[in-house]
Structures are given as C-alpha cells and as structure tokens.
Amino acid sequence: MHRTEFFSKTLPLKSLGSSLSASVVFLLYWLETATVFAQETAEASEARLDPLAWKGDLALWTAVVFLLLLLVLSKFAFGPIVKALDQREKNELAKVEATERANADAKALLEEYRRKLDDSNEEARRIVADAKKEVEIQADAIIESARTAAEQERARAIKDVQAASDAALRDLAEKTADLATSLAGKILKERIDPQKHSELVQSAVEKMTNQ
C-alpha cells in the first residue's frame, strides 16, 4: 500500500491537500496561542481551562518525567524484559527442536522395533515351521525305526519260536526215540501181561507229557 493511501485510510485527514490546509489552520492557531501565551501571566486562570493553551512548565515537566521514566524502565524493566523474552523464545525454540528431535528418534526407534518385531515374528514362524518339519521327520524316523524294530523283533520272535519249536520237536523226537528204544528194550526184556503193557504205555505217555 502506498504511503499516501495508507494515511488516507489510517488518519482522519482524507488527502494531502486537506492535510496541508489543516496544517495551515493549526499553525495559525498555534501562533495565536503563542501570542496568548505571551499575555498569559495576566490571564493565567483563563489559560488553564483552554485545552490548546501552551503550558511551558507542564511541557518541560512532562519531558523530564517521561525521559526519566524511559531511562529507568529501559535500564531496570523493559530492557531486561526484552532480554528475558528473547531468552524465553530461544528456550522455547530449543525445546521445540529437542521435542522434534525426540519425536523423530522415537519414530525411528518405533520403526526399528516394528522391523525387529516383524523379523522376530518371521523368525518365530520359521522356527515353528522348522520345528514342525523336524518333529515330523523325527516322528517319521521314530515310527520307521519302531516299525523296523518291531519287524525285527517279530522276525526274531518268529525265528525264536521256530527255533524253540524245532528244538522241541528235535527234543521230542529224541525223547520219543529214547523212550521207544527204552520201551522196546523193556518189552523185549520182559514179558509183560496186558495190564503191565498198558501201565507201561501209560507211564511212557505221562513221561512224555511231563517232559
């Protein structure tokens, strides 16, 4: 915005032309007031009631009081306050930066943990899958080995049974032969009556049975 335009909006004076005329009016008025000021001693009480009357002593007093106030406040109040505000602003900025940094760190950390968690899940899944596979393999192996062992055991049992049966048969045959031989010898040695013959046969059968 141009200056003239700006002031025409912010000040009550609409244009520079009216500003000029206003300034002339004011200058004239001040000249008149200055004249009055020269005669002020005679009309002191009247001058006090005129807002535009120039009171030199009050102006001087105001200048001194204001300058002293400005000096004191700049030195002991507003100067330190401006510094404090600057310091606070710096602190706030530092805090904001630290917070942003912490936030970024936290995000990175979170991302890392998420990644680790995903990795762990993957690892766990892999471990479980491996374990399952392993278990299945082991189970198969155990079953296979059990089956083989059972087969072997069965074969051995059959073999043992066969061997025992063979041995028993062999033993029976031997015993039978011995008994037949012994019986035949006894029959041959003694003439026996039917009763005796029957007892001998019975005895031989019982012997065989017991053996």
């Binding site: 200056r3 002031f7 300034s23 535009l52 009171k55 009050l58 105001t62 406040l73 404090a84």
Partner: protein, 275 residues
C-alpha cells in the same frame, strides 16, 4: 445565576489542571508547593504518580521474568500478557522483527505512561488528566517524531533518510526537477502534521470526555434554584449518565493509549523502511 456560574466554574476546575486540590469541604483545600514562578500542578503530580506506578509495576516484573520462566500471579500475568500483546501484535508487525526490540521499551513506556495518566485523570479529586493538555500530548508526540527522525537517519544516513521521503518515481528529468522538491515538501509537512494530529487526537479525546462529564454534572447545579422535582430528576439522570460516561472514559483511556502507541509504532516502522 451568579451562584450557578460559580458552581460551573468549580466543576470545570475539577477537570482542568490546577495548582491546588479541591477536596470535599470537611477535608479542606490545599495548595501544591511552588518554587518562584514555577508552580507544581495536579497534572505534574499525576505524571509523577503514573511514572512511579509504572516503575513499581514493571521493575519487579522484570526481576520475576529474568529466570526466563513464565511468571506466577494474576497481576504479573496480566502485565506480561499486555506487554507481549503490544510487542507481538503491534510493534513487531509495524516495525519488523529485526528492529522491534530496539523500539519496544520506548513504545511500552509511551503506552503505559499515557494509560496511567489517562486513568489517573478519572480518580475523583486527585485526577486532572495530563493527557487532556496540549503540553503533555505535544511533548509525547515530539518524542515520537524525534525517535522517528533519529532512527531513520541512523539507518539510512542523514541525506539518505531525507531523500527517501520522496517516493521513487520514473519521471522525466525536467518534470522531476519541479515535482520532487514539491513532493519532498508535501511529505515532510505531512510527516509533521501526522505528529500534530497524534497529539491533538489524544488531547481532544481526553479533554472532551472530562468536559462532557463536567457539563452533565453541571446540569444539577444549573437547575438547583428550580423546583425540587425537576432538580431531583435532573440529578438522578445526570448521575446515571455520568456513571455511564465514566465507564466509557475508562474504555477511552485504554483505547487512546493504544491508538497513540499503535500509530507511533507505525510511523517509526515506516521510517525504518524505504518506500
């Protein structure tokens, strides 16, 4: 009729500067001291009061803010919030962040000095608004003018600052010879007028407010000789109206201090930038 005039005169004395305090009759009147031809007036006392009040408020506030932590307590927060508002919403936008803090103490002092003077003028018996007098407002305006010129010349150099008052225009040389000096005069006179208006605006607002209240209260004495009914009615209405106007005056006290400081920061800000 003469009794009425005396009463009006007395009322006007209450709102204008004087070298004596007119307190209620049971306390009495007393004159302010004077040294030779220099007489202490109510306005001068009010200015000292405003200055001391500002020191009493802001020096402890500065001590409390030194640590950089937010202050505690309603009063200190109120003061700090006001300072921050003026700095962040008025001074920085007008002058720019880079230069704002250099002028902030001056503009804060200006605001609070005017505000306290305006407010002190509303205190019964004690008050006579120094800001209702041209001597005060003109001096304050003069300080703004001096700050503007000195800071501008410091930034752009003496020649640079004054030449910078003429807006840059692509004019033919012959035209520029005539137009630029004229523009320079217009701009410089405009600058002076701005500051005169700054002084008169504050003065007119404060003086007019006090005068209107005095006139309204004066109605009571003006009808004092008439019927009791009329007097009672006028007195009742006048008191109500003056209470309402005093509330308005409270608002105006803040508003005018703000406007003065706001315009001062805009003028100073304009001197910090070429146009």
């Amino acid at each position: 009729m003469s009794a009425e005039l005396v009463n009006m005169e007395e009322l006007r004395e209450h709102v204008s500067d004087a070298s004596s305090y007119h307190l209620p009759d049971f306390i009495g009147h007393f004159d302010l001291p004077s040294i030779g031809s220099f007489a202490l007036t109510k306005c001068m006392v009010v200015e000292c009061f405003a200055a001391l009040l500002a020191i009493a408020l802001f020096v402890p506030l500065a001590a409390k803010m030194k640590s950089g932590k937010p202050v505690r307590g309603r009063l200190w927060n109120l003061l700090e919030a006001t300072l921050l508002y003026l700095r962040n919403e008025v001074i920085v936008p007008s002058i720019g962040k880079k230069d704002a803090d250099r002028f902030a103490p001056f503009l804060w002092t200006l605001f609070f000095f005017i505000l306290f003077c305006n407010l002190a003028g509303l205190i019964p018996w004690f008050g006579a608004s120094p800001t209702g007098s041209l001597a005060t407002t003109a001096v304050l305006s003069l300080f703004v003018f001096l700050v503007l010129i000195c800071s501008g010349m410091k930034k752009f150099g003496i020649v640079g600052f004054w030449l910078g008052q003429v807006p840059e225009m692509d004019l033919p040389f012959v035209l520029a010879i005539f137009l630029k000096p004229m523009l320079f005069v217009i701009e410089v006179v405009g600058m002076i007028i701005k500051h005169v208006v700054l002084a008169v605006r504050l003065l007119a607002n404060m003086f007019a407010g006090h005068l209107v209240i005095a006139v309204i209260m004066g109605f009571i004495s003006a009808v004092a000789g008439g019927s009791a009914l009329l007097w009672g009615g006028v007195a009742f209405a006048s008191v109500l109206l003056s209470v309402a106007l005093n509330m308005l005056e409270l608002f105006v006290a803040f508003l005018q201090a703000y406007i003065f400081m706001f315009l001062a920061s805009i003028y100073i800000g304009m001197a910090q930038h070429k146009h």
